[in-house]
């Protein structure tokens, strides 16, 4: 579940930031040297930056990075100052580089750029190849190319090993709140395939961002149904993941398999998601490691 990480900055923020802009006009930072005080304002760039940044280089991460539900690095994030993606608060941290996600509020990043702070925007990863590209790019941005190269190498190695162990492909369906499913051009869809499952929703003609009717889900008769972990509080949208027809698949086949924080971002943690699913696959096919 991707969350917009930024709350709308009010006009007071803008006025304040404008006043500051006047005071500090002309303070442009050259990016020839490695940035020394980096602020990340997106859950996924938070995690990549925490993995790659040098000692003391990363100053702040978004508050969602501490949320165990969404972040694979909630514990590590405790060591950093948190931000809420507001232009004023980020400006006052006096960063020499801001890293934002594709879905960060445009108003905020535009404001920061006007104030003379370099902003790098990372698009969200939608494939396993994107993960490699994002790591490399984060390494370049932080001037930590060697660390990034090592990380990419180990990512490639582990991914190849995980892919190699697949012999038999049971069918599975990703089934989220409101009955949405994911296809091949999404990170979740590729995690599923890499873990050795065939995507039964795609075979039934339902691609990414499409609603898979409950009846069609039942008729495809998949070996596994993978749902998302529900949020606290109740919602009817998530109730469908617990419908008797879905539960029948979850209980009869594999132990409750659910997507979690490892699935959210294009980081090497996707490998952990693939490993988890691989174990479920072996349970279905009955093969022993």
């Amino acid at each position: 579940m991707r969350r917009s990480e930024v709350i709308c900055a009010g006009w007071i923020t803008r006025l304040g930031a404008l006043a500051l802009a006047v005071l500090t006009a002309g303070r442009a930072v050259a990016q020839q040297e490695a940035p020394a005080r980096v602020v990340s304002m997106n859950l996924c760039t938070d995690q990549l930056a925490m993995m790659l940044a040098g000692e003391g280089q990363l100053h702040s991460v978004s508050y969602i990075a501490r949320d165990r539900r969404a972040s694979a690095m909630a514990e590590e994030a405790e060591a950093y100052v948190t931000n809420h993606g507001l232009a004023e608060e980020i400006y006052l941290m006096q960063p020499d580089l801001v890293i934002a996600g594709e879905f960060s509020t445009q108003a905020t990043t535009a404001m920061l750029k006007r104030l003379g702070i370099p902003v790098v925007v990372f698009p969200a990863a939608s494939s396993l190849d994107d993960v490699r590209e994002r790591i490399t790019r984060m390494g370049a941005v932080l001037h930590r190319k060697d660390a990034a190269q090592d990380l990419v190498a180990s990512y490639d190695r582990r991914l190849a090993a995980l892919r190699a162990e697949v012999t038999e492909r049971p069918s599975a369906v990703l089934y989220y709140a409101n009955g949405y499913t994911s296809g091949e051009n999404t990170l979740a869809g590729q995690i599923l395939t890499a873990a050795g499952f065939g995507n039964a929703a795609v075979e039934a003609g339902y691609g990414s961002g499409m609603k898979l009717p409950l009846e069609v889900l039942a008729m495809t008769d998949p070996d596994a149904v993978i749902t998302a972990r529900p949020y606290p509080g109740a919602s009817r949208s998530e109730e469908v993941m617990d419908h008797p027809a879905v539960r029948a698949f979850r209980e009869a086949r594999v132990g409750a398999t659910m997507t979690d924080h490892d699935w959210v971002c294009g980081t090497p943690y996707v490998l952990r998601a693939i490993e988890g699913l691989g174990a479920a696959r072996r349970e279905i096919t009955g093969s022993v490691e």
Partner: protein, 327 residues
């Protein structure tokens, strides 16, 4: 009487069958029915028994009880505009249901959901009856209904907006418009006892409502205890509307449209209208639920949208008619 009831019964039976046979899985008639009845444990049985059957049963239960409640309220208030959805009873029930879900009460205690919805409906219907007064003049009744609906709707939105669940706020439309998509047998069992009680109470009111057509004094002279009748009406309506709303959201206008169409066919006798409206309501909700599946299958179109498209123009027509009669 049977002149009306038999065709209505046949219509409901046909729609029930259609409801069972229409769906995105697209399977043949014979195959579907044999999977439903015989049950070989395959995926088609799952579709028929866990997805389509509960949907059909809920449409019958909810439609029938809404039609019945509308006919009973109109009989008691002697006002064709009285309808649980319009006067805020459904909205109040939705508020109760949302509170039960968001406070976690529904999670720890399964009957918490219908009970809270019942409490909400009871609060709403009592408030409207008090505000509108015993004679229930059209204007005061509708004004009281607007006030109660608006308040219940606003509070429902507030509770959903405050929920820690990111999906909850998007579900305001479900609670206001109602839908039967992807409901299960669990919901049927949750609603059934409350509906049974409510239907039993409301259908027993026929004699009293017939007497009331002669005026309150005449009815009392005939031995009808008006206070008791009123209490039964309030409680019975709250039971059926509360239970229905708890599992399917607020579906409006059914109790307005159905009694209006059927009234001339049963000779305008409230006691006959009760049963006829129950059948008619079931037919209307079944038809609406089939339509949402056929017209826009991928969009989860809300039932309340269709019932309002039919009901709102009729509502305006009734207001115009009442105004002419006054002059």
């Amino acid at each position: 009487m049977s002149r009306v009831m038999i065709p209505l019964g046949l219509l409901v039976a046909a729609l029930m069958l259609a409801s069972l046979l229409i769906g995105p899985a697209g399977v043949g008639v014979g195959e579907s029915l044999s999977a439903l009845v015989a049950g070989d444990g395959g995926p088609l049985t799952l579709v028929m028994r866990e997805i389509r059957l509960p949907r059909m049963i809920l449409a019958v239960m909810i439609g029938g009880s809404l039609g019945l409640a509308g006919a009973a309220m109109q009989g008691y208030l002697r006002n064709p505009l009285a309808e649980p959805g319009l006067i805020g009873v459904s909205g109040s029930a939705a508020l109760g249901a949302v509170l039960a879900l968001q406070t976690g009460l529904a999670g720890v205690f399964e009957l918490g959901l219908p009970l809270m919805a019942l409490a909400g409906a009871l609060g709403g219907v009592t408030l409207v009856m008090l505000l509108a007064g015993p004679r229930g003049g059209s204007l005061t009744l509708i004004l009281a209904g607007i006030a109660v609906s608006a308040l219940a709707g606003a509070l429902t939105s507030l509770v959903l907006n405050l929920s820690p669940n990111p999906f909850a706020a998007n579900e305001i439309v479900f609670w206001m418009m109602g839908s039967l998509a992807d409901r299960s047998m669990t919901h049927v069992w949750l609603a059934l006892p409350f509906m049974a009680v409510g239907v039993a109470i409301l259908t027993s009111l026929g004699r009293g409502l017939d007497a009331l057509t002669l005026g309150e004094d005449a009815a009392e002279a005939m031995g009808v205890r008006l206070k008791r009748l009123r209490l039964q009406l309030v409680f019975g309506t709250a039971c059926v509307v509360g239970a229905g709303t708890a599992v399917a959201g607020a579906i409006g206008f059914v109790g307005l449209v159905v009694p209006h169409i059927l009234r001339p066919l049963v000779g305008a006798r409230p006691s006959r209208l009760l049963w006829a409206s129950a059948l008619g309501g079931a037919a209307m909700v079944l038809a609406a639920d089939i339509a949402v599946r056929v017209v826009l299958p991928s969009r989860d179109l809300k039932l309340g949208v269709l019932t309002a498209l039919v009901g709102a123009p009729l509502f305006l027509h009734l207001i115009l008619k009442l105004r002419k009669e006054r002059i």
